[in-house]
Amino acid sequence: MGHFERDPHTGHMTTGHEWNGITELNTPVPKVIWLFLACTVIFAIGYWILMPTWPIGRTYTKGLLGDDVRHDVAQSVKQAALDRSVWSARIEKESFADIQKDPRLMDAVRETGRALFGDNCAACHGRNAQGGKGFPNLTTSSWLWGGTPEAIFQTLTVGINSAHPDTRTSQMPAFGKDGMLPRADIDKVVAFVRSLSQPNAKDLDPTKVAAGKELFAANCASCHGENATGNTEMGAPNLTDAFWIYGGDAQSIETTLWNGRQGHMPTWENRLSELDRKILALYLVDLRKADK
């Protein structure tokens, strides 16, 4: 029935069919393909024999190797914990001071802390822990709640203005919005606050600064301290240094005073193990040291 032809180029016959000018050769399947197929099939069958593969009723063929991923994972997690326990057990047990004295333990803290910080904290505090607007720089000597490892550990555990029952709570009152100070007074305090960290700023009006000083003593010192160097009992920041959470320009300080501020830092108690929190606390202290 077909119209067979020999293809001059390959020397193979056509199948005798033609579709709108297209023909096909009847070239036999090259041996290498059968070989290739055989190899993959043998590989597959071998794998089925060795590994869990075929369902049979409510169970499945377990395979000669008896491999089980769940078991493998549990095993390797256990092994990894065991490997780490060389140093992690000591960090769990020993006091911060003792750990800080041991350079080998501190190496582990640095290596582990960096990844922990990157995965849990960098989203808010930045990759280098240097913060950003609304999120404090953690590499400075200026701490809201204290820079000892113990204090940092506590901050991590309970969070700041968080959902934890023992949370650290702090609030910068909204002096303007809540009508505690008139706009003119706020202007003056802003001038004074600016003069603390930028005494040489050209645009500061000395009379305003002086008036602001008094207003500060009356309204602000209770939290920020008489010298405005902050109070780690209340999480009130030092206003005399170069580090700002919300910005140290006139506009930002004014916004802070007018609207108030209340930063939120989550509690990590149920999200990071005690070991991890301890490592992070030590890591941050160390970061500050390294930065100096």
Binding site: H3, H9, H17, W19, E24, T27, I33, W87, E111, D119
Partner: protein, 552 residues
């Protein structure tokens, strides 16, 4: 267009459009407070436009009976242009999301412009909009020529094309409004899914009707592949989208599956969408346009048979390689992995058969960018399937999974294989369809080819690098036994590759835009009389009696 329909077809079209308008109105009313209502309005608008279109041509004279002596190609022409429109939209959005990954802040703070909403516009735009329209259009062309039968009527192909594009529009606009089932490649919600079932079943029946009318005793390979594509996609689509809407006035629905069964159903769908949409369909395309353009017989009919059945059988089992090392039971993973390895053989047999077909025509490949598109497509097909089978091996997958390596693999297939074979097929068929001697500019085809190839290579290499670096960073432990890098570290490491990918994507997009321009200019150029039906044997088309059939 309306003039090509018979009177009774015009009436049927009106009835269908009126019914659609009623459905749209009901949706718009029932979903007033929901994106569902917006979609109702879109359906209503589409139906009204359609009604106006039909009425404006309603009193045109009946088409002449001579039409039955030739193939019906208007739907193919329309489909090719629409495919190119979607190509430009889908790839532009693809490049946009590529830039977003490098500069995530470029979202204008608008919900619709967020990565999560634009990404499915890209994937659906290129796969369904570009790929789907190209497949439907070329399948109409190929099925008529290889069966030597005209499409059975004039209305059904238009219903399939317009219906399908309505689905695509509803899908894309839905994503921008946040409507999604969160099933990758099956994001559209229940009502869009139901509509697609109607369209798709009509498409399947149309294909069967053409085959039933065939004048050729044998069914050519291209048709096997196109049919497998249509049939299996129907099955996948229906099963994976079984869901319960929360109300008749809401876009939201919940899947009938849950937990790991849900994941397995989704990736059984997802992988076979790759297999039967992005592979079988385009193999059908290749099997027609490549030998035709090269003027060579298919190298081996026998290889066609084993690769067709191999692909069809093995792919069905392979979906679980998307869920390695997850809650999916290990035995299912073993099956997915081993079948993926065996799948390499028929895949390579297909690619090899295609390349061997070019033996004796390599000088044409050198001179003709259109044929070169198809040749490179076959090479990338071989490369992608090798890579896929390799990535399906569990320990390899433990490195590649969740990384850009997968994205590299996807686009080696999507750009190198799917898009290249489509461009090749389109460049071949545009002059045939519009009866022009050749494309408006062979130079521009050449330019498009090199832009596409450079874009693909840049894209794929960038993603291989980025993916492997990422995968290694995620599994590197330091001496203390903890992970050495945080996730953010790996993001920083990927940044330069993301920029490279976006640049490669821009090349590819530019090529597609040039191609579209070239196609439009070809259509505008003067038709040449001599090339009438140059591509068709016998030139007289379907009415030529079986007696003319060679060798019969």
């Amino acid at each position: 267009m309306i003039a090509q329909l018979t009177k009774s077809e015009r009436q049927s079209a009106l009835v269908i459009l009126l019914a659609l308008a009623v459905v749209g109105l009901a949706m718009a009313a029932g979903g007033r407070h929901d994106p569902f209502g917006v979609h109702g309005a879109i359906v209503l608008l589409a139906a009204i436009l359609g009604i106006f279109g039909v009425i404006s041509g309603y009193y045109a004279p009946e088409p002449s009976p001579d039409r039955l002596d030739s193939y019906y190609d208007s739907p193919t022409k329309f489909g090719i242009i629409v495919a190119m429109v979607w190509a430009v939209i889908g790839m532009a959005v693809g490049d946009w999301v590529a830039w977003l990954l490098a500069y995530p802040e470029w979202t204008f703070d608008a919900a619709w412009a967020s990565f999560g909403r634009l990404r499915p516009v890209h994937t659906s735009g290129v796969i369904f909009g570009f790929g789907g329209n190209a497949l439907i259009a070329t399948s109409f062309y190929v099925m008529q020529r290889t069966t030597r039968a005209r499409l059975p009527d004039q209305l059904t192909p238009w219903f399939v094309l317009f219906g399908y594009n309505l689905f695509c529009i509803i899908a894309a606009t839905g994503y921008l409004m946040g409507v999604t089932q969160s099933r990758e490649y099956a994001e559209p919600e229940w009502y869009a899914d139901i509509w697609l079932v109607i369209v798709w079943v009509t498409y399947f029946i149309l294909y069967m009707r053409v085959l039933a009318r065939r004048q050729e005793p044998h069914i050519y390979v291209a048709n096997w592949y196109y049919l497998a594509f249509i049939l299996v996609v129907a099955m996948l689509h229906i099963v994976n989208n079984l869901a319960m809407p929360i109300s008749w006035g809401s876009a939201k629905s919940y899947s009938l599956f849950s937990g790991v069964q849900d994941a397995m159903t989704q990736w059984w769908y997802g992988h076979n969408a790759v297999a039967f949409f992005l592979t079988s369909g385009f193999l059908g395309m290749m099997y027609y346009y490549m030998p035709k353009r090269a003027g060579r017989p298919i190298y081996s009919y026998r290889m066609s048979i084993i690769s067709f059945w191999g692909i069809t059988f093995f792919y069905m089992w392979a979906g679980s390689h998307h869920l390695h090392y997850t809650a999916l039971p290990q035995w299912v993973q073993s099956l997915g992995m081993t079948f993926s390895v065996m799948l390499l053989v028929p895949s390579w047999v297909s690619a090899g058969n295609a390349l061997m077909t070019l033996n004796g025509a390599w000088h044409k490949v050198r001179d003709d960018a259109t044929l070169r598109f198809m040749m490179v497509a076959a090479v990338f097909y071989g490369l992608t399937t090798f890579e896929g089978s390799f990535m399906a091996i569990r320990p390899v997958n433990s490195l590649s999974h969740y990384t850009d390596w997968t994205i590299g693999h996807v686009h080696a297939g999507a750009l190198g294989w799917v898009a290249m074979i489509t461009f090749g097929a389109i460049y071949a068929s545009v002059p045939w369809l519009w009866k022009r001697e050749s494309m408006y500019s062979a130079k521009l085809v050449e330019v498009h080819f090199w832009l596409a190839l450079a874009g693909t290579v840049i894209y794929v290499f960038a993603m291989w690098n980025s993916g492997i670096i990422q995968g290694l960073m995620w599994r590197t432990y330091n001496e203390s036994g903890t992970l050495a890098y945080s996730f953010v570290d790996s993001l920083v490491a990927m940044h330069p590759y993301y920029i490279a990918r976006a640049v490669g994507g821009a090349f590819f997009l530019l090529g597609a835009i040039i191609g579209f321009y070239n196609i439009l200019m070809t259509i505008r150029s003067a038709p040449s009389v001599e090339t009438q039906n140059a591509a068709d044997f016998p030139v007289t088309g379907p009415a030529a009696a079986p007696a003319l059939q060679p060798g019969e």
